[in-house]
Symmetry: D2
């Protein structure tokens, strides 16, 4: 990477009409058949996987997930739960070993702003439809996602990842809440980092927000806002054919500046493009790993749990250099 430009910022805000137009013009509905539930995961391929494997030089792995926290916080109003069913603290010398086994229950609301997770295509709807024109009635409040659940990704995602380290490229610790990552950042990254975003990539955008949050304390995202990818990136996502977008944010700038679009990147991305999202990725370790090697592309493996009728899954994406 050479010569970051601290002045690069992206403020372009497409009109609401433009967003509605993109919902149509960028649509992938029907592209992979009427029954398709995989969306942009169709852009993965065995050939792409093989090329991604060939990127590995050392065999070093880097986790792109945050530790789950069991603690309520301003951005974690429904904290994950963990209960032990038996543990090791009951042992007494002389007793038999038969009860020396520990077991756990854990549960969580993974959507939101703190747990590293993927969204399935059932996470957002638009005008009564989910991706590919299926009725949103199939995402049932009792039965769960009867279509477009996370099982569409059950065979795993083993492909190339590329990191656009927008904070580092701008020379800042963190991109401010309310600001977003846009085309300028992408262009600068491609110029400076020696890669071009291509079909089947997992595109990771780093704002530094999640690390900054861990260092300075949780905030209410509905009040303080969030960085994230800007809607102006949507055409690029389509043109380049990325399989998944991820960042160290909830993946939509807040506030959005729109009335009807509470999460424009998710709404157009998921419903229109069938794009898969990786929210709240932990990218600070990855950033260090990339910078140390000045290599910004790598193998990435993302293995969503096989959770039928669930609209996503917590994950631990592993990058390999």
């Amino acid at each position: 990477m050479s010569m970051p430009n601290p002045a690069a910022t992206s403020t372009r805000q497409p009109s609401p009409e433009q967003l509605l137009e993109w919902m149509q013009s960028l649509s992938n509905w029907g592209r992979w058949g009427d029954d398709d539930q995989k969306g942009t995961l169709n852009l993965l391929s065995a050939e792409k996987t093989k090329r991604a494997l060939a990127l590995v030089q050392e065999g070093a792995t880097v986790s792109c997930a945050r530790d789950v926290s069991w603690t309520a916080a301003a951005d974690t109003p429904r904290p994950p739960q963990h209960f032990m069913l038996g543990a090791g603290d009951k042992f007494r010398p002389g007793e038999g070993p038969d009860r020396q086994v520990a077991s756990d229950y854990f549960g969580l609301v993974f959507h939101g702003h703190t747990v590293t997770h993927v969204d399935s295509l059932a996470h957002f709807m638009w005008d009564g439809k989910i991706y590919n024109g299926v009725s949103s009635q199939l995402v049932d409040s009792r039965e769960g996602a009867l279509s477009h659940d996370v099982l569409a990704a059950k065979q795993g995602i083993v492909t190339r990842g590329v990191l656009v380290d927008a904070a580092r490229l701008r020379g800042v610790e963190v991109i401010a809440r309310g600001d977003g990552v846009g085309l300028d950042d992408i262009e600068q990254a491609e110029r400076a980092c020696g890669f071009k975003i291509e079909e089947g990539d997992v595109l990771l955008l780093r704002t530094g927000q999640l690390g900054h949050r861990d260092r300075t304390g949780a905030v209410d995202v509905n009040v303080e806002g969030s960085a994230g990818p800007l809607p102006e990136l949507l055409p690029l996502f389509k043109e380049r054919g990325i399989a998944m977008i991820g960042s160290d944010t909830g993946n939509d700038v807040q506030p959005t500046g729109y009335d009807r679009f509470c999460n424009p990147v998710h709404q157009i991305g998921i419903v229109g493009l069938g794009l898969w999202f990786l929210d709240n990725a932990w990218l600070d370790d990855l950033s260090e790993a990339c910078a140390a090697r000045n290599r910004w592309e790598f193998l990435i493996t993302i293995n969503p749990l096989r959770l039928p009728t669930v609209t996503g899954s917590p994950v631990n994406p592993i990058a390999v250099f």
Copy 2:
């Protein structure tokens, strides 16, 4: 694979004294330092990862996880839970799109006999100690595993997997509950399948039990028993230096035939060797994939969730051919 021997069975049952001796003689305590919590994951290496990546010829992925089931069954007395927080079924034409987002809570007891998961080294204790001599008091019934939780595997497992398809090698649909996979099966697999189990491998043993269970119905494992790896394999696990043992069972033959050892392979494996376990893997698809290619080694990626203080994690292991 050539000429399976249907007659191969393993009935050898080491004496309780032998098991207690193995707890000592096969021990890895102190081998990787007094503070080690990774156990046999220390046998992974960047070099091993690179060699495993080089096995891939096609880029085809195969999931080795079972779909989580939300339904109570004889072997699932505490069924996983799934609740929707909002869904898509409330949409009405003409309304704004702002509430068209679905979210989920899910929770589960993953240990047991139906969820594909890894055990961390805090899952079993012996005589008041967990692996590497730490007090079992640290696996606390309130706070969880304050040592040896699943975070020891947070950087992911990207290594070679090998499949010993014991059911196929014996020419049976399923190895009977109460029977186990033993040295004979391993030897036959190494002879017939062109691989030798080596340091850092994920060793997968297929009994056909989980597929048979799905076809014929759930049973109470405490009553009907289980197939699984036999204790006689423990010295081989140590000698060959496997990083993880997995099978399509709970990974201990039931009933065990021992008084003090309710789960001898887990107890000696986890506490003594620091061996990681993959329980209830789904190996029927993998078996087909291996047989179709007559290749029984492959890249495998297992990415446990980053769950602090938890004694394991549900996973979706992905094999790549």
Copy 3:
């Protein structure tokens, strides 16, 4: 009680048109104001409470709740959960007492066929409305019951209870699944047992089903059916002005014999009359207590938990003689 008539059965089945007519003609909408959420709890009064208190002769209490079971069963597909946060089994002699405290998490789906609970008026809707004409949209899949939650009963129910012990009156151990309690049973009880059902009463109907279930094993209610109050009782509920109907069933005969009415007594009772329900009451002990005294009226106290936005509450109704 004198001379039960074993031949008494109720088979009358009102036409669907009759049910629809009752939804209108028995309606209490508007009766207690446009904002009313209490429905038939308005028929309670301080005066009624005082008269109920005056029934007590001995001060003996009898619980009308079933023990919650943590075990999955054919009629409990989503079993309640109980996890300990700390416990007493970790104590070791000589240690300080500071950790000798136990705590619990419990959670449950209380609606259904096994947990003793009350239904709030948000539990059923009809044609897009809940009781008193409020939009069913207010029972929100994300936020819960924003109207008509169980807080409407937060001041407790302290009134007269009367037991119609239909099984005993018919001289049978249990009223068969598919059969119901009807007007004949009520008339016989009033003749034989020395009470008349009056305004503000909690009317309890005993079929023996729950005790029989505990003795003979759980069944799938959707397959095996259920006893319960018959729809023909609805006009009587209105005329007499009962505050709550309860029984040792889920309070609707199954199968219902109707297409549109999956639970006609609940649907017309809750939505039309604003009637409160006590489902799965444990009435076998109460039956013994009544028979021993030949007194079938008593003080009853039902204290729903203060659970905002919840459509009911588990309870432990206490009868006092």
Copy 4:
């Protein structure tokens, strides 16, 4: 009530030796048999219930429970959970009514400082024993309270309640965190309010803390402390033979000023006396009801849920005037 004395405060702090002596001298172990699990609930009686019923003049009911809150707060680090299984918001005109039913899951850790609940005698242990000398091993981290669970109270508590409104008697809005209710407050209440605490009573102490908390915001009790009953009351509890102590606090002054006693009133009360506790009662409405009538005794009904192996229960105590 006449002439409160604002200067009354209680600062007497018994020595640790005195507390240890009370653990012995106030003990009720063996008093009601070796198998007793009811402790001070043995002091209830049919006769007492009848006398309490006779106190009722109007039939007016007052809830002594706080609304459960689903929101995390400084004193609610593990917030209760509520999920809907189906709801009313999915209805569309013209559709059949069959899915118009709402159901809920709720779950909670009720011990702590915000949920109105009773403690069973399994909640605290001392030196490896629970009340009446049973091994604390029976409060099992996996199986729950195999002895002394809340089922000991399953027949309900229908008895006299008396309110010592310490805040009102002192003429303050709230008794400061760290200060406690003591013998002075009791003596003043008995002088001013026309009652004498007697056997079988539920003794309620009001500090105003919970109402103040709701008006001014939650605090971390471990940091900011808590009001509550003082240990000096323990001999009085024994002498008078109260069945239950309750207050609008967690029922122990924090900080306690002791090393070994983290909750001296609970520890000696529960383990030694077998005393039942009502924590976090909502007493502000009761206070108004008592003051309006200048009557400080009333019927109270407390009906714990029938939760086997659980160390308490959320409740909604109902006072009747």
